[in-house]
Every structure is written in C-alpha cells, then in structure tokens.
C-alpha cells in the first residue's frame, strides 16, 4: 500500500484543510469584474393570474440596469424535464411548460415573476418593491387527493387535469397480485405519509452568468452537483447555446443532497441576462428564498398492503401512492416515485408478486424532486413499516419474520424489474444483532421506566439500487440522458498525475478517496495524484454525482483510464528494459522484468513518454494521457440492517434516540473513514426526517415552514453516537472496484427503525398505537397516545 494511503486506508480528507480554514472557494466567493446583481420578485400567493406587471417606476430607480419579466422570455425555451414516464395505459405523462419567469400565471409561493438587475443587490431589492403586480388570486390545490378530484382548480390550464401520470408496475402482475391477496392467510394494511422535506444544504444556491463578447462565449458559475448536465440542458433546451460555446463551472459546493442536481430557472436567467446586458450577473439565494425555490423532497402518501400465507411467507405486496410533483416538473422529478421507488419494493425479501401504483400530482407547491435516497427511502419506509406491523399482528418476532423472507440466493431477479447481483442479508442482520445486545433490552427498559420513560427498539432492513447508471436500462425507463461516467488521467513528465473526473464532489471527499485508488494501482504515493472536477472546460463529459454513483461509476471510469495508462507505460518500460511487454510487471511504482532484477521506475517511464529520445515511436505515440468512459451493466445494491432504541417521555411525547446501530454491506471499501462519515450524515438526515423535519403548507398554499424558526433541522444533540459497521462485504460483481456506494444508505435505512422503535415503546406500554406519521414530534406522539 502507498505510504500515505491506498485502497482501504482511513486517509484524512485533504480537502478539509481548506474547508475548515475558510479557504474553500465557493460560488459566492467568486466575483466577476463589473458584475451586476439580480433580485427575483417572487409570488407571495400560491396560485394567481397575472393581469399586469408595471415596472415603470422601478425601472427609473437608482442603479437599476434592467428589469426582466416573463415577456422577455417568449421564444426562449422553458425549463426542461429530463425523464419521461409512460403511464399504465402506455401514454406519456402530462408535461407542462415551465417558463424561466412566470408567464400568465403564478403557480406556487416563490414562483419568480420579475428579475431586477441592478448595480447592487440592495438597489435591485428596492426596485423590486416598486414593481406593481396585479395578480388575481385563484383557488390553490395543495392536497394531492383533492387536486385530482373532478372540477379541482387546475395548476396548468392547458393540461387535462392535475394528474401527471398514473403508473402501474408491473402492470402484467396486477391480476396475479389481486388473486394472491384473495388467497392470503393474512393481510396487513398501512396508510402512511412520507413527509415533504427541504434539503437545506449549508451553502444556498448561487449563480453567476458571464459573457465574453469577443469570443461569443458564455460561462455559468453555479452550485451544481453536475455541471455537464446543466450545460447540456441549459444550452440545448433553454437558451440554445451550443455546448462548445458554453462553460459551466461548479467549484467548491457546500452540500447538495440532490437539490443541486437540477437545472434551475435562476441559472438560465443569469446566463441569459449576462449576454443580453453584456455584463456579469450574480444571484445568491437567501435562506428564505431557498425554502421556496430549491426543489423539495419526498412527499408521498401511500397505502401499502402485504399478503402472507399461513406460514408467514410474504406472498404479495400492493401499494397505491400519491406523489407530489409540485407546480412544475423539476429535472428528474417523474423518475423518483417510479423507477427509483417501484423497482425497490421487493426490498430484501423474496416476495414473488408485487404491484405498485403511483399517481403523480401537480399542486400549487414548490416542485419536488430527488433528495438523498430519492424514491428508495419512500420504498424502504413503507415496506419496513408494514412488515413491522404484520409481525405485531401475527405475534411473531419482527426480526425472525424478516429473516424468514430474506432473499438468500444471488443473483436474484425481483418481480419489479431489477436483478440483485450480490448480497448477504443474513450476515448484516447477524452483525446487527451482535452490535445491539437485544438480550439486554429488558434491563435497559426497566432502567428507563425508573426514570419515567418508555423504551422501545425498532429494527429494519434496506436495500437500494444505486451507482445510478446503465444507460441502456435507464433509457428504456424514460431517461432522456445517458448515465455513464468519465475520467481523463493526465500523467506529467515528472510522474505526478491529474485525474479529471466527470463526478463532482460536494462533501463526499473525492479529492482524497479517488487518489487512493490510482495510487494503489500504480504503487505511488496518493499525494502524487490530484483530482480536478467541476468545470466543463477541463473535464470530460460526465453526468455528475448523485445516487451514490461516484466511486461505483466515476471511480470505475478512472480505473479504466488508469489501466490504459499502465498498459501504455508497460510498453514504454518494455522498450527501456529491452524486454517483452508481456514480461513487464508493475509493483510499488517499479516496472520490472519478471524473473530478473532489471527494473525501471515509474518516473523514468513517464519522463520517457514526454522526452522520447529512446522510445518506441513506431509503435506508440509520445505522451501519457488516457480517457475512459464507463457504463456499467447494472445498478449496485448496497444493503443493510439498522436498529434504533428510543425513549419516549409519556407526559410530553418527546422522543430521544438512545442508540442507533447500522450494519451495512457496501461491497469493497476504499476509505472506511469517509464511508463512516457518509453513513453518519445519512443517519442524521434520516433521523431528522423521522423526528424533526417536515415542510408544511396551509390550505391556501402559504409555506408555514419558511425558515428555521419552524422547519426543524436535526442538530448534533438530536443524534446519539452511532455504532456503524461495514465489515459484511459482498463485492459488486460488475464493476472493477467491487464497490457499491454508501452515500444514501443512512438516509434510506434509518426512518423506519426510528418509527418502529417509537411504536414499539408505546405498544409495550399498552398503548393501542400502530402508526404515527413522521415527523414524530412531541405533539404528534402525545396526540397519538391520547387519542
């Protein structure tokens, strides 16, 4: 292993030095010479018809450069949707237009009506207050079920209804599923809500448009998880700028959690305005603006039914879900409740028959899209809650019921279209039981009781499909993009090298973990490897980072490119050593001739590549730089078992997490410290969803949780010291690193454990509570206990 850490070493994150010292370079730290600032005037009503916008007085105010409204964008493309879902009748989803600035109607609180560009932000804001907008209030639709009733007000007048699609999966299984329910010995039914969340990355969104008149080139600096995707979507579908005339830069990004995947109107606006005004235009979101303009997450309402035979084997599963799309289709919104959710409904279990129905609904709320886990937490939550409820109804141990139904043979083709390559759910459950001392639970519960508290324990499993990729597969499922990844490895004459990756790090630590892989492959120090990402001008076309795909897909591309480098370097070494290429071995940065003591160092070979005095020029070109694109043939399937112990204060309903254990199978692990950090962060977000977070609109579509005064974020004190383990490793069979991805697991796997534990605590105390919807705030738990 390289002295400073190869594969498997818990190397400290090199990027943290600059982040912790305040020397990171975030988009808001960038300023272009002569830049102007934009302030967006946003709708304060959820639904209304714009009868007029008078910018006259505002336009003459100090510092105002120009005021744009929807009328300035007629003929300009709208915000595109990157995924088309086909409904259960084979028809494409209803896809409404999404203008950059509102045209004709506003459709949610926060919908931008006008954009004021001025010399300073305060001037822009002053002028925005002087704009007179004549809006006729229209009734808003907020509740999904009401939104699709006959005669409900329509969010989009040109669509037939507020139903985006009615999706059935797998439609061919439907009849067999119904029969299985008729034949079942027991059916457990549960209705639940997967609460709407606001991602709240520490860094709010920022966009700076810049235009170079001399070369007719546009540049967008933006807080994005995938700059190439933004370049493609914005260039090709919104502004009509060819990709070679458009550069997108996403420098240090302070957290994304999905909400920075999507192409946003503010990005298109700044790019457009910079060219129109021939002046850089900057927008920095305030936190309040983020609450009403960042895509939200989750927001599903589901009825799930589980059928079991007389021996407690799962025989069928049926779900009916309403999925909130919000007012417009955000970039990947349609895929979340369908292909990222329906395909996961088998979970870790060999249920033979599954039918999933999803109705995606437009409402007068902020668009909803992927948020850490995206669809998979919703699937896991329903499934693991209904299994827990079934165990209670049948009077069997919830762990035993799960074990009995585990998939144990791999590869395993589920009835919902995916094939798990590897896994060992028994091993992770064994590990979990080892970690949590279930035998000691009664004693702990007794001790809690002495302090007047109710103790409960909840367990769940999860599986996720991540390493989001196979282009051929996602293409069949409606993706309007490929999902490969890319890397260019550029070796310098003196032996150091740069990896230019299409993946994007916004907290994941790629600058540390990626070099560990390359260093290990070549046998050089990791400090000789630098990672470049986030700028379309100097990285190959890549799809970015989300869906726990960076190492599994992007890392694999880097491995392939490095393999090409090594293959070429061996040719050079063979020439230098006057040996046959097949006899050359690379170890610890030395090329040697097998069975001899003849060798040449990595640095000698790289030097020869660029100073080819003695070089096989007739066989190979000088230089040492290779690119690889990697498109796997399947998703990866991390899985695990989680357990949570809670205490409930019966007088106030307050829940505290006493312990949380996670046993994960991520396949091979490159940097265990980073993996643990990712799990910790995911668990904090999952626990946040379960106990604290919830985005709430009132009936009129006003956002009641528009700031941290009402939207409860988890804090360090809300989570315990986690017990995490990733020693159960069944390597992925189809990527060169055998890795599976760990970024979302914590957020996917933790909410059901928390809710199961609270229900357990209440049941042990004799309360007839079978379910409480998240977030399990003190008032909700108290209300459930006292209903």
């Amino acid at each position: 292993m390289p002295a400073d850490g190869g594969i498997g070493a818990p190397t400290k994150r090199r990027e943290d030095l600059r982040f912790l010292k305040g020397t990171g370079r975030y988009t808001d730290d960038l300023n272009r010479p002569g830049q102007a600032y934009v302030f967006f005037l946003r709708s304060n009503v959820a639904h209304g018809r714009i009868n007029g916008i008078d910018t006259g007085a505002a336009a003459g105010m100090p510092g105002v450069v120009r005021i744009f409204t929807g009328a300035d964008f007629e003929g300009v493309g709208g915000m595109p949707c990157g995924w088309q879902v086909t409904d259960k009748h084979g028809e494409p989803m209803q896809e409404p237009g999404h203008p950059i600035l509102a045209q004709g109607k506003v459709r949610h609180v926060g919908d931008p009506i006008a954009a004021v560009v001025a010399d300073t932000l305060d001037q822009a804001r002053d002028a925005a207050e002087a704009i007179e907008v004549d809006i006729e209030d229209l009734p808003a639709v907020i509740d999904m079920k009401k939104a699709i009733e006959d005669g409900a007000p329509k969010v989009h007048d040109d669509l037939s209804s507020n139903l985006c699609y009615d999706w059935g999966f797998v439609e061919e299984n439907k009849v067999a599923v119904e029969q299985a329910f008729k034949d079942a010995a027991h059916v457990t039914t549960l209705e639940l809500v997967n609460n709407r969340l606001v991602a709240n990355p520490m860094e709010p969104r920022v966009a700076i448009g810049d235009y170079d008149q001399a070369g007719d080139n546009s540049t967008l600096y933006t807080t994005s998880q995938n700059p190439h995707v933004i370049r493609l979507l914005m260039g090709a579908f919104v502004l009509g700028i060819p990709e070679h005339k458009l550069r997108v830069v996403a420098p240090d990004v302070g957290g994304g959690f999905g909400t920075k995947i999507f192409h946003y109107a503010e990005e298109a606006f700044c790019t457009f305005a910079a060219k129109a005004l021939n002046r850089p235009v900057k927008w920095t979101s305030s936190r309040s603006e983020a609450f009403m303009s960042d895509a939200h997450g989750r927001d599903h309402v589901t009825k799930i039914e589980l059928a079991l035979d007389g021996d407690n084997n799962f025989t069928a599963l049926r779900t009916e879900t309403y999925a909130n799309m919000g007012a417009y289709l955000s970039t990947f919104a349609p895929s979340v409740p369908t292909w990222l959710h329906g395909t996961l409904m088998a979970g870790n279990y060999k249920t033979p028959l599954i039918y999933v129905n999803v109705k995606a609904v437009f409402t007068n709320t902020v668009p909803v899209d992927a948020y850490r886990g995206a669809g998979r937490p919703e699937a896991t939550y329903q499934l693991e809650r209904v299994i827990d409820k079934a165990a209670r109804e049948l009077g069997v141990d919830p762990i035993a019921l799960r074990r009995q139904n585990f998939v144990t043979e791999f590869p395993y083709a589920t009835p919902v279209a995916v094939e798990y390559d590897t896994g060992d759910y028994v091993a992770t459950m064994d590990k979990l039981e080892e970690m949590i001392d279930l035998a000691g639970f009664d004693k702990r519960a007794e001790e809690s009781k002495k302090r007047g508290k109710l103790r409960g324990v909840g367990v769940n499993c999860y599986i996720e499909a991540c390493g989001i990729a196979p282009s051929h597969l996602v293409g069949q499922l409606g993706a309007r993009a490929g999902l490969y990844e890319s890397a260019t490895v550029r070796v310098n004459a003196t032996g150091g090298l740069v990896v230019m990756t299409g993946s994007h790090s916004h907290g994941q630590g790629h600058e540390t973990s990626f070099p560990q892989v390359v260093a290990e492959m070549i046998g050089i120090d990791a400090s000789m490897v630098e990672i470049v990402h986030g700028d379309t001008a100097n990285t190959p076309m890549g799809m970015g980072t989300y869906g726990s795909r960076s190492l599994a897909v992007g890392g694999s591309a880097m491995v392939r490119a490095t393999e090409k480098i090594i293959a070429k370097a061996k040719k050079i070494a063979a020439h230098l050593l006057e040996a046959a290429e097949g006899d050359i071995e690379l170890k610890d940065g030395q090329f040697s001739v097998a069975g001899t003591d003849k060798s040449v160092a990595w640095g000698d070979v790289t030097l020869a590549a660029y100073v080819p005095h003695n070089y096989p020029l007739e066989d190979i070109e000088p230089g040492l730089e290779e690119t690889a694109f990697y498109d796997p043939n399947n998703f990866t399937y991390p899985a695990g078992a989680y357990a949570c112990e809670v205490e409930v204060d019966p007088e106030t309903g307050k829940v505290t997490i006493e312990s949380f254990a996670a046993a994960d199978d991520f396949g091979n692990v490159v940097n265990p410290m980073i993996v643990e950090g990712q799990v910790h962060g995911g668990l904090a977000q999952g626990i946040g969803q379960a106990l604290l977070e919830g985005c709430v609109y009132d009936e009129d579509g006003q956002l009641l949780t528009g700031s941290y005064m009402d939207y409860a974020m988890p804090r360090a004190g809300d989570v315990p010291s986690f017990a995490v383990d990733h020693s159960c490793q069944t390597p992925c069979t189809h990527n060169p690193l055998g890795v599976k991805g760990c970024g979302e697991a914590g957020a996917i796997g933790s909410p059901p454990a928390v809710v199961n534990a609270v229900v357990d605590a209440l049941q042990r105390a004799g309360k007839d509570v079978t379910h409480i919807d998240m977030p399990l705030s003190p008032s909700r738990v108290w209300a459930a206990m006292n209903q």
Partner: protein, 260 residues
Amino acid sequence: MYAFELERPTSLADAVNALKSEEAQALGGGQTLIPTLKQRLAMPETLVSLTAIDELKGIRREGDTLIIGGATCHADVAAEGSYPALSDLAGLIGDPHVRNRGTIGGSLANNDPSACYPAAALASGATIVTNEREIAADDYFVGLFETALNEGEIITAVKMPIPQAAAYVKFEQPASRFALVGVFVVKTANGVRVAVTGASEGGVFRWSEAESALSSNFAADALEGLKVPSDGMIGDIHGSPEYRAHLVGVLTKRAVTKAG
C-alpha cells in the same frame, strides 16, 4: 435590509436624546431586530445601540435583589449564579452567539410570546426600571409583543428579588428552540408565583390556581387535578392548544420538583 444610521452613545442621556427622533429605534443585541431588518419588515432611520453604555451593563446584588443592567447579555446572566433559576434560564436561550449578544432589556422590550425572560420577570415579581420610571412586572406585560413601554423608553435595569426557591422548565419548540411552553415557579415568604410563557395567545401569564394550590403545599402533588383550559392557548404546527395546555400542567409539576 434598508440603509440606516448607527449611533453608539456611551451614556444613557445621549441614548435617550438620540431616541427622541420618531424614526430612531433602540438596538440591544440585535438578535431579534437585525433578522427583522434583514427581512425588511422594519425601516428605522437610526439605530441607537445600547451596548456601549457601561451604566446599562452588569449585574449587582443589593440585599436580596439582583439588579441587572438592561444591556446585559444572556451569557453574563447565565454565568452570574446568585439567582440559580435565572442563570439556568439564561443559559438555555439560543446558542452561544445569541447568548453573547442578546440582552435582557431587548428580550423584555420585545416580549415575544415564546421568550423565556418574561416568565422569569413575571414569576419573580421583578421591577422593570426605565429611564422614565419603575414598572412592576404585573403591569408591564400587555400582550403579544406588547408592553407598557412608551415610544423611546429604555429599559435601564431589571430588579429581580431572589426567592427562597425557584426553577424554570422549558420545553423547546423543535425548530426554533424557543419555549413551546416554559414555566417559571418562584417560592417566597409571601407565597408562590407561577408564570407561563409560550402557551397563551395573550403572552406570558400567571397561573393563579396553581399559585394558590402551591402556596399551601409546595409540592408537585398539590397540582394533581389542576388544568389550564385550552381556550386561548396557541395552536400551530408544533402543538395544538390542548397539547400546550397539557404541557403547562406537566412542566409546572416538574418545575416545582426541580425547585425542591
């Protein structure tokens, strides 16, 4: 934020003068006022900062009364310790940033229905000292964000009689961590006072039934069967009126037990 002038007088007299202008407003720690300005919900021409005035800062004890300067920050009250329940309350406000900037005068002048200090002041029978007069706590709190203060009147000090026993129990609103309900219980030779914050649509209030029950028997048991009606309690996404009314009972018992 709209543009404003900032004045930093070093004497009370200068501050009073500066506040005579209609468009001037006092600035304490800015922990409430600055966020309000950032949202452009207020438009003062001049902010008169009180935190450079030495005579408004600091804590001293005169007999059994603690006299706290109006511009004293929460962290200083938390550290002082001669009225433990009060220091305890101050130490639970916000986070270290808030506690090192926010002031007792600012909190009492603002009279947020979820703030903590109003409960302490009312339960302790404090006296609010201003540049114009002294106001008994019982007369000071008028309603939500409403007090007996006149335009431009400055809280210069708060006189807190130190009781025989006291305790504050705060149940945090999950998001803001202000008091969803907070109960301050005080026991003196003259009886017991119970002040409740966070719960009522009318702002901080005294729970008189509990006071009489506790005055004859200062024990949690004495509250058995007593309930505040849920009518007039705040209902929002963090708790119904019924829940808040219930918490008043639970927290009062806990406060009595804590006070010992």
